[in-house]
Amino acid sequence: MKEVIVHPERCVGCMQCMLACAAAHSKTGTLISAISESPRPGPRIHVGAGLYNEGFPNRCRHCNPAPCQMACLPGAIYRQTTTNTVLINPDVCINCASCAMACPYGVIRYHADPLAPAGKTIAVKCDNCIARQHKGLIPACVEVCKTGALTFEEMDAAMKKKTDQVARSICAEAVPADNAPGFSLLNTIKRAQKEINLSR
């Protein structure tokens, strides 16, 4: 089963994933019409700025066991085992924010949503685009990401790739490999700018 993998070191903070996510979770499904919908669809991936303004795409990790699921008062949060996805049933959610207190990554938002009962404020988070996946599409955030910060891969293969990277880096003859050279330069510049501004 493929899953969304985040490579934060490659994120330039362009926020296109947020737009694509909101559009994918709108009633009409396209960005141009989604912006005039009411309620306006919200993103379920949140690009934040790190300490040096480097981008960071923050999305639900679909933890197992999921702290939000265990904390959910009305039992609205459940796991769809076929896609390894933690989902929130908008009909059952009571907007109590118990999941906000439980989520160690801070990825749940609370608002009216096009896919929820009209006028009801509910907890909203990443659903791995399972509606798109049913149509044979990949998650919208991955599709739109231009830098490879978000990929859709078999977890085992992705783990193997990362393990190999780590193994190479600790080998005695290893030359320190930069896995994302352009991005490292960009983030170094951002960091320098921030530090210069701070020292002024």
Binding site: G48, P74, G75, C96, M101, I108
Partner: protein, 411 residues
């Protein structure tokens, strides 16, 4: 193997589910004085508010007992236990033998010392039946009195305000939620409810209730009198372990348990509001009678009872409330009664946005916080307290409204 679980609250339920994950064949008996199917206790305030009906409260399907092959024994609470004979006995005289016992008996509301407590219209708010009685009494209620400015008091007051009932809250201490938050946050919360019609009186308590069958007025400690057709007692709870022989099982405020939720008596475990483990933020023994900890403790107890060793990391006091357009989240040590001069405090108050944050540090370890509004990232802070991870970045970053988890990650 015969497992007996005292209590069908969330601790008992998660324990039974954990046992069944390991042991499909052992016999499980669940004893409770409540006859409702297992339900979500914190949601009784939503029931009082009228936001949900009673059908929304069960936390498991109607087939819960059948599905897990549990024998329910409902309607009568356990009143005694015989540790030598390995049995527990209920009020109606039934005796249950056990090989492994879980005490998840929960807590009982703390009574108040006032005259006329037997009048109709005076309620505790602890279970569905009490809230259903309150709802039945709402039609004849114009003024309600809430005793206590804690979480239950606030939720009761909020629910009654939503039902357009005039509510007066009596608080013995100087500001509401004084066990959970600092004075600034307490006053902000009080202001929200006062803006919606709540009357708050601090440093005062009720001494007597008067009425002809049903309560009509209350006498207060300052000598004044106040009309009320309903009074709700929200003065906290105490662990319901009166039936536990204190000479055989170590108890303090609650039943003392180790990391495996085992009591000092072999084969006997405790979990939920009745159990006393270590508080992570305070680093000492503490009863945290809250729903998420009860769920977590029940699960750990169940695995250990069925023979799968699993350790519990300790409990953390925490709460989140939404009242009108204001959200409050708090965890760990924030109240002045829980902090001292060894703590470092950081706070940010933005009156224009209506936000407030206060962080309490012990060296580099986050020990507590309160947030008013913009609470979405609160779970990150909660998890910092729980993991006791030293925070290497400036506390100002955690106060920043643009804060996100990436700021904690070193590159």
């Amino acid at each position: 193997m015969h497992y007996v679980i005292i209590g069908n609250g969330v601790a008992g339920v998660t324990a039974a589910e954990a046992i069944r994950q390991i042991d499909a064949r052992g016999q499980i008996t669940m004893i409770s004085d409540e006859t409702h199917p297992p339900y979500c206790r914190p949601m009784i305030s939503n029931l009082l508010e009228g936001a949900v009906d009673v059908s929304r409260l069960p936390i498991r399907g109607p087939d819960f007992y059948d599905r897990l092959s549990i024998t329910p024994a409902l309607g009568s609470r356990v009143t005694s236990m015989d540790i030598n004979a390995d049995t527990v006995t209920t009020q109606n005289g039934r005796t249950f033998p056990y090989d492994r016992l879980l005490i998840a008996a929960g807590a009982d509301p703390r009574p108040v010392d006032a005259q006329g407590m037997d009048l109709d219209g005076i309620f505790f708010m602890r279970n569905i039946a009490q809230v259903q009685d309150m709802i039945a009494a709402l039609a004849d209620t114009r003024h309600a009195l809430v005793l206590g400015g804690g979480l239950v008091g606030f939720k009761a007051a909020y629910s009654l305000l939503k039902r357009n009932i005039a509510v007066t809250m009596l608080i013995r201490s100087g500001y509401p939620l004084s066990m959970q938050v600092d004075e600034t946050a307490g006053e902000m919360i009080q202001q929200v409810l006062c803006d919606h019609g709540l009357t708050v009186r601090t440093g005062i308590s009720a001494t007597a209730f008067e009425g002809n069958g049903r309560v009509q007025s209350a006498h207060l400690s300052d000598g004044s009198q106040i009309p009320c057709e309903m009074a709700i007692i929200g003065k906290g709870v105490f662990p319901a372990h009166g039936f536990v022989p204190a000479d055989r099982i170590d108890t303090d405020a609650g039943i003392l348990v180790d990391d495996h939720m085992a009591t000092s008596a072999p084969g006997i475990y405790a979990a939920g509001d009745v159990a006393e483990h270590i508080d992570i933020a305070r680093q000492k023994r503490w009863v945290n009678a809250i729903w998420p900890e009860a769920a977590a403790q029940g699960r750990v107890a169940g695995f250990n009872m069925a023979g799968q060793a699993l350790a519990y990391r300790g409990s953390l006091s925490r709460n989140v409330m939404r009242m009108f357009d204001t959200d409050v989240m708090t965890a760990g040590r924030v109240s002045p009664r829980d902090t001292d001069e060894t703590c470092r405090f950081f706070s940010a108050h933005d009156p224009r946005r209506g936000t407030y944050r206060r962080l309490v540090f012990e060296d580099q370890i986050l020990a507590g916080f309160v947030m008013i509004n913009q609470i979405e990232q609160g779970g990150v802070l909660t998890s910092l307290i729980q993991s006791r991870t030293p925070v290497k970045i400036s506390a100002q970053h955690l106060l920043d409204p643009g804060f996100n988890v990436s700021r904690l990650i070193g590159r």
